[in-house]
């Protein structure tokens, strides 16, 4: 099918008009560009009080006493709540995707007897304004008995001190696949074995907007309204109803704009529980908006982990077996239970390669640091470890790293392919995306340039990585998504989905998809999202599911209305339904010029003239449907290739080119797809080179401002080049999830490029982030003379 973009972004294809596949401008943009967005901090309600947490300054300790009298004496300070006030109100406390029976970490909303990390919420101050509330929080005196903290997670399992005494151990849980011992013979008999221990530093989502919530309880009606910065408004409602024992339909959660989430705003954490609990006690609406320091102290940690990894190869470089022993730091209060995600690292470690046998163990441990939370591609360590190991293997075997991958990457004629841990990949293109990325670089030309540069004393490198990722989870609460569409009496269309703008362009996506299925002009379609009072339950933005699941919901719902419009038009125009076509809000009879009726006329008939409708067609043009995923996951894959120059004296890294070839199926909006890839990739670059949520040995965080927690800036990032391969998924429209992949592929591509640049010095990189100091230390001073 050939397609050509028209001026307004549509594609003319065989006479039909389609908006999917075009770079249509976003519907979110006009309000956001002009300062007219509505983020949680923009909500202001009459009489609203401002909340500030008193947080623990010690990593581990007992609370001996709390004296709030000085704080309460300040004019304008209304309440100081402690655990004794709020925690007894908790009824039930569990996340829908985890379920009530999982062995969860106990989470007191406010710390009761013990504090377990610096930043642990101990008391909540409510005052007339934010400045006052901060003054008062300083005046709350908490007496702590400081205890030795468990900070080094690699020694947590053996530590005398316990983060959660009742748990009896600092090991949260352990899962394993096939025992490594059963592969001993394969490794012993292999032509080549490569082994490494690879470490990733703590870093995390760091959305530009922190977390926040406004709670507004009406005692007379028993209704609670919550405005939240969230990726999952319906989950907040459900969670809150269990927490407070309030009926779900008495709670309304609203969000119009959320300033980024990347996993951090999927689940309710302890601070947000405390807000929910004060709602009924404050006697006024309450707003809490965390500042940057709180966000870096207490909104959670991710990525802190290491693994012993090994691969066995035959004489031709074909992989015989892969094994990973993975340990991850879960902090004091992981949200949710982290053991399942850690097992995903083990299950996915074989990646998109022909790996015949594999073993894994996955261990999660508690420490006295911020709790582990989801961050874009929560299991991405499997790709980091595998791809860094493959490059080390290639160097040891004297083989080109591209050739080593080429020999082992899965071909489409081998699909579906079950990896040795039982993950069955299908409809992916690992080899095609890899070759496309290398071709875009002109790999051979780069190698020649690299050789010339080395002769001139300059150190260039190229790094590559490939991965396969399960998107669009099709189980539990994630397995369905609903849409309601109302073609209003004037013919204008409203689409109601759970959604909510967190940066993922889901409003634009929904409008594009709906206009296509209904055959209406895109300017006739609007969408209402992020309001639990009017949208059907949806599990929110997580697991790269929004686009692909919403496509199903819109398709199933809009198809009902499309058929109804066609029936009414056929009746009005005295034609057969098969001959009616709907294009740009007009139904016409194919091949009969002039025989047409507008969608507005059809709607007027449907609402105002019900007796003239054809038999069997109901009045009105409103429908709701709920799509159920057909598969447990939709596989998506990509290859990243990056080049860099490293200054061996300073250790400074300059990224030169960055190429991503990905297969996310047909693109609903290429600009949105590329924007997601770019954003994830730059987060991955930040993780490889800059970002570190560091603690000192006593458990004091040392990166609580943007002066110490370094985010990538415009001077750190290369131009990102995109290659697209489109393989249809089995789901609606053939679409796949694309939100997380960039953050998965980027870190190893960057590490491998830097390691390649420093290969002449025999450098082996196994620890992130690649700071200038750490890289300069890899170059022996005598090598530079």
């Amino acid at each position: 099918m050939t397609a050509a973009a028209t001026g307004d972004g549509r594609v003319e294809a065989g006479g039909a008009t389609r908006y999917a596949g075009t770079r249509i401008g976003r519907v979110e943009d006009p309000r956001l560009l002009t300062g007219r967005g509505t983020y949680v901090d923009d909500i202001r309600l009459p009489g609203m009080l401002h909340a500030v947490f008193v947080r623990s300054p010690v990593a581990r300790g007992r609370i001996l006493g709390i004296d709030a009298s000085a704080a309460l004496a300040l004019p304008g300070v209304r309440h100081v709540f402690t655990a004794a006030d709020l925690n007894p109100d908790v009824r039930e406390q569990w996340h829908t995707s985890v379920g009530p029976k999982s062995p969860e970490t106990p989470r007191p909303p406010l710390a009761d007897t013990d504090v377990r990390f610096v930043g642990d919420p101990v008391a909540l101050v409510l005052a007339d304004d934010r400045y006052l509330a901060e003054d008062a929080a300083e005046l709350v005196e908490v007496d702590y008995e400081q205890l030795p903290a468990v900070v080094d997670y690699t020694r947590a399992a053996q530590a005398q001190e316990l983060v959660h005494e009742a748990h009896g151990s600092n090991v949260v849980g352990q899962l394993a696949g096939r025992p490594a011992a059963t592969l001993a013979d394969v490794f012993a008999g292999a032509a080549h074995v490569v082994t490494d221990t690879i470490h990733q530093q703590a870093h995390t989502a760091v959305p530009m907007e922190g977390r926040g919530m406004v709670v507004d309880y009406s005692a007379s009606t028993g209704e609670l309204t919550i405005h939240a910065a969230t990726q999952a408004p319906h989950e907040i409602r459900l969670f809150c109803s269990r927490l407070l024992g309030l009926p779900e339909h008495r709670i309304r959660v609203l969000m119009r704009d959320t300033g980024g989430g990347f996993g951090q705003k999927v689940m309710v954490q302890r601070d947000e529980m405390a807000l929910m609990l004060v709602a009924r006690r404050a006697g006024a609406p309450v707003k809490w908006v965390e500042d940057r320091r709180e966000n870096l102290l207490a909104a959670g940690m991710s990525r802190h982990e290491h693994a012993d990894v090994s691969m066995a190869f035959d004489p031709d470089g074909l992989i015989l077996a892969a094994s990973i022993d993975f340990v991850s730091d879960c902090g004091a209060y992981p949200t949710p239970w982290p053991v399942g995600t850690s097992a995903a690292v083990g299950m996915l470690f074989p990646g998109p390669y022909r790996v015949p046998a594999a073993s894994f163990t996955a261990t999660t441990v508690y420490t006295n640091t911020a709790g582990r939370v989801a961050y874009r591609g929560p299991w991405q360590f499997e790709t980091l470890a595998r791809e860094v190991l493959l490059d080390n293997a290639a160097r040891e075997m004297g083989m080109d790293p591209a050739e080593l991958r080429r020999r082992n990457l899965l071909r489409t004629d081998e699909l579906p392919f079950a990896n040795p841990n039982g993950m069955t990949y299908d409809r992916i293109t690992p080899l095609e995306t890899f070759e496309q990325a290398l071709e875009m670089l002109d790999y051979d030309a780069f190698r020649a340039e690299q050789a010339r540069a080395r002769e001139a004393g300059r150190y260039l490198g190229v790094g590559m990585s490939t991965y396969v990722e399960p998107s669009t989870p099709g189980y539990g609460s994630y397995a369905t998504e609903a849409a309601t569409i109302r073609i209003e009496p004037s013919g204008k269309v409203n689409v109601y989905i759970a959604g909510g703008s967190t940066g993922n362009s889901i409003e634009t996506t929904v409008v594009q998809l709906t206009a296509d299925v209904l055959g209406v002009a895109i300017e006739d379609v609007a969408t209402i999202q992020g309001d639990t009072a009017v949208t059907g339950f949806g599990a929110g933005t997580a697991g790269s599911r929004s686009g692909s699941m919403t496509a199903g919901a819109v398709r199933d719902t809009a198809t009902i209305l499309r058929e109804r419009m066609i029936a009414i038009a056929a009746h009005k125009l005295e034609a057969a339904p098969e001959d009616i076509e709907l294009v740009r809000s007009r139904a016409s009879v194919r091949g009969v010029p002039g025989a047409s009726v507008t969608v507005a006329e059809l709607a007027a008939t449907a609402y105002f003239d019900p007796y003239s409708l054809p038999p069997g067609v109901p009045a009105g043009l409103e429908a709701s449907a709920r799509y159920t995923a057909e598969t447990r996951s939709v596989w998506v894959n990509a290859a990243h290739v990056c080049t860099c120059e490293v200054d061996p004296v300073t250790g400074g890294v300059t990224l030169l080119r960055y190429i991503v070839s990905e297969d996310c199926g047909p693109m609903i909006n290429p600009s949105v797809v590329e924007g997601q890839i770019a954003g994830g990739t730059v987060q991955g670059i930040g993780g490889a080179l800059l970002e570190h949520l560091a603690y000192d040995e006593d458990g004091n965080p040392t990166a609580t401002t943007f002066v110490d927690y370094l985010l990538p800036t415009a001077t750190d990032v290369p131009v990102i080049e995109y290659g697209h391969i489109e393989t249809m998924s089995g789901g609606p429209g053939g679409y796949k999830g694309v939100g997380e992949g960039g953050a998965i592929g980027a870190p190893p591509a960057v590490v491998n490029a830097v390691a390649d640049a420093l290969a002449p010095f025999g450098a082996r990189i196994t620890r992130l982030p690649l700071t200038p100091e750490s890289l300069a230390a890899l170059v022996p001073p005598e090598a530079l003379r």
Binding site: R23, G25, R26, E28, D29, P30, R31, L32, L33, T34, G35, R36, G37, T38, Y39, D41, D42, R44, R130, Y131, A205, V206, P207, M208, E209, D257, T258, G259, G260, F262, D291, R292, S501, T502, G503, N504, S505, S671, V672, E674, G675, A678, G679, G680, T681, V682, Q683, T705, F706, V707, L711, P712, T713, A714, T715, V717, V719, I720, G742
Partner: protein, 159 residues
């Protein structure tokens, strides 16, 4: 310390308010003027989300007290587009180039790019990157923002 009266002009309108001396300009704009387009991403001068123009200069409003801006002309993101919602050239270029996703950083970019292109209408890529390096975006990887600056610069020069 007792409250003080400040008078200043915000987006062309005279404003008078009695405020605490410690009230930041950012909070003055957000709370007193109810101009919530100015965002707070760090409150310590690094992220640039709170950037506004004070007498034409791009300033981080989280680092300035409202009283320090007394007598000045302040322009926020709300004051840069047309009154009927029409986008300024910088705003339009950001939209065309997919230069925003969640939009939280966007007001800071709109304001700082506007000031930057006024002072340097035909910037090189390196100048652009350096000018933007004081404003953080976590969503876009800066790709669309950098393209937007070039497009807006081209649009200005084409006039």
């Amino acid at each position: 310390m007792s409250d003080v009266q400040v008078e200043l002009t915000v987006n062309g309108q005279a404003r008078t308010a009695t405020v605490q001396p410690r009230l930041t300009l950012a909070d003055f704009l957000r709370e007193e003027c109810r101009l919530t387009g100015t965002h707070l991403g760090c409150e310590h001068g690094v992220c640039g989300a709170c950037t506004v123009l004070v007498d034409g200069e791009a300033v981080r409003s989280c680092l300035v007290f409202a009283v320090q801006a007394a007598g000045s002309e302040v322009t926020t993101v709300e004051g840069l587009g047309g009154p009927d919602g029409e986008l300024s050239p910088v705003q339009a270029a950001l939209r065309d180039c997919h230069g925003l996703q969640c939009g939280f950083c966007t007001p800071g970019f709109v304001v700082s790019i506007t000031a930057f292109l006024r002072d340097n209408p035909r910037p090189t890529d390196q100048e652009t990157r350096e000018a933007l390096s004081g404003t953080l975006c976590r969503c876009t990887g800066y790709q669309g923002i950098l393209r937007a600056v070039q497009q807006a610069a081209g649009a200005e020069t084409a006039r």
